[in-house]
Subunit: 380 residues, 2 copies
């Protein structure tokens, strides 16, 4: 059976990237490899839309999240965390682990933070060191108003720290224009690489804070990585394969054009929303992001069985819900190396499974609704 | 020009492993992938020769070293560090960063620790929490008397923590028989994989200490990884590619037999030592380990030029010296996917470069000496 991967990470890896990664191993301290690292960093700056330093880590995205805490806050520091999903909660867990004192803005899952709430909390707490949230919250597929948050936070001494692990390269984002201080990301989402690489872009305002951080850290000590930037290298033996793959990914993204990629994923998202609504289902998040769509599963349909059937019977790996929405939502990714006919295929399989699980709708209604959006708006 | 990689990490990756890693991406939470993780952990237990838990991290080996500190010692804890090279120094740096109080046994580079010195220090300091050292110190190529240390440390409440990043799978090592409590390793040496994976095997005695550690850590929190062992999964999105490659590596090692691999590398090391001595050079470490050989460069030969010439003119990437032995030693690896004729080739290139740099010797003397060892002792 042919397999289709449409989970919000890891996403499919283009064949040309896998082939590049399968070349014979090279040593990480050679001039040839250092030149590759330099090129990769320049490419990441384009994708981040930043002139800031970009650091590369060999770890999951969570490693970069940890660094964005352990290099920034000292024990007792007050921070704001806007959380409404599993990854917002992860910010909180890491911050508490490192002795930070989070002021939580708790959001209903699927809802974004109201920038006015952040503004108010910052005014009441002028000693807040940083505001932590997501660009896209992978567990709910909501998109956060990062641009508006940037306007507010930039007027204060606090840093704006964004987890764009699932957003970068897919969801509209302009680090410098939007006044973001730290933005972490990972390889296995919009960047089309296998899991194993994480990134952080760091503003000058953030480096001043980092320079005064006394927290114990070693592997994720960002000051060490910054020193190595001059030499285009890594303090440790980093993932040679991911750097090589990243160069191919960057080349693909540059050739397509970042704005065009944002546009395509936006259209794919719109098509998925139109399709599931035509099938009588509801989109879970509002506003729903462009890189993945979460869909509420009606009570009469067995949500766990739906995701399992898609995978085991029809070959489509999508994602279910996590924590209290387990079995209650499913999530389909439309980022990275996922294109129009992958979406058509998964929507077809979805109709087949929904029918099998007793949900009533008109055959092809979802496909028709998606088709209408895609035929009119997707750029071939 | 054909390229040869004989540095002590990363080492060459077998083509069958690279091909396996180039297969289409799979999701990390599927039953099929979890089964692979379970199999990889069982295979690592064989390579470690242990019944203990084995944890897999997506990071460089240094990430596992950090975890072996941040999960073990609380600020103020006294530990012994036997250091005589860059990686012994790294233990010290990490321990100091996390507030530990190291008692250093400083060794001349290239010399091993005397177990009696550790025994004495442990008697004088019964409150020592752990003894940290290397199996093989990559920067000098010395092998440490881990078995003897195990006998001594096991009689105390202290843990024996071994960095076997460059040794595992190549240098004779039996974790359980040798009474080692924590042994960290990495993917890119004897295990023949690209850099990006790190491992830790952890004894029950060590888990009891870890359970009482209050240090802040998140990504490298070993208790979290242990909990996930029951489900054969990872707390985060780990490197899918490395797990797939690891299965192939384990299969190769099992088929060859761990003892046979130890034997082959021992013979290769003996051949390299015989060759360089026949060329009038001196082996740097005593005892020299089986996975790589460090060789002193005579004052009359430009050591930096030698390593550069081997790489740029003849295609051989070996390693030079680090820190104060930079330009004074070179290191040739003989572990992982490095076999007899790779060694013959690099020794030939070495003779050519040494001659070009003015060192006098009889043409072929090194090759002849190696040949004699290899023809008699290597198992074809």
């Amino acid at each position: 059976m042919k397999k289709y991967l449409l989970a919000p990470g890891p996403t499919p890896v283009p064949e040309v990237i896998l082939e590049k990664m399968a070349e014979p191993m090279v040593h990480h301290r050679t001039p040839a490899f250092k030149a590759m690292v330099g090129e990769a960093i320049e490419g990441l700056k384009y994708i981040y839309q930043t002139k800031n330093d970009v650091l590369i880590f060999t770890s999951s995205g969570t490693g970069a999240m940890e660094g964005a805490v352990s290099n920034v806050i000292n024990p007792g520091d007050k921070v704001i965390v806007a959380r409404g999903g599993k990854f917002g909660e992860r910010w909180g867990e890491i911050i508490e682990k490192f002795g930070g004192k989070p002021l939580y803005i708790d959001l209903e899952w699927g809802s974004p933070v109201d920038p006015a709430d952040v503004e108010k909390l910052l005014k009441e707490n002028p000693d807040v060191k940083a505001v932590y949230t997501q660009l896209t919250e992978t567990s709910t597929c909501v998109v956060m108003p990062v641009k508006e948050l940037g306007e507010i936070v930039a007027k204060t001494d606090a840093l704006l720290v964004i987890d764009a692990i699932s957003g970068l390269g897919g969801q509209e984002f302009y680090m410098d224009d939007w006044k973001v201080d730290i933005c972490v990301s990972g390889s296995q989402k919009g960047l089309m690489l296998p899991p194993g690489h994480a990134y952080a872009a760091v503003s000058e305002k953030a480096w001043k804070v980092i320079d005064n951080c006394t927290q114990p850290n070693y592997y994720f000590n960002w000051k060490k990585y910054r020193k190595k930037l001059a030499d285009n290298t890594d303090p440790y033996t980093g993932s040679v394969l991911h750097v090589k793959g990243l160069l191919v990914a960057i080349d693909m993204i540059k050739k397509a054009g970042l704005e065009n990629m944002f546009y395509q994923y936006k259209v794919l998202g719109k098509a998925v929303r139109a399709a599931v609504e035509a099938l009588g289902l509801k989109v879970f998040a509002n506003p729903s992001c462009d890189v993945a769509t979460a869909v509420s599963i009606p009570d009469s349909v067995d949500g766990l069985a739906l995701v399992k059937m898609l995978r085991d019977k029809y070959g489509f790996t999508i994602a279910g819900g996590q924590a209290h929405v387990k079995g209650k939502i499913f999530r389909i990714a439309h980022m990275g190396y996922i294109e129009i006919f992958d979406i058509i295929s998964v929507l077809s399989a979805l109709e087949i499974c929904l029918n099998e699980l007793g949900w009533e709708f008109e055959w092809g209604a979802g496909l028709a609704a998606a088709q209408e959006v895609l035929a009119n708006e997707y750029k071939f």
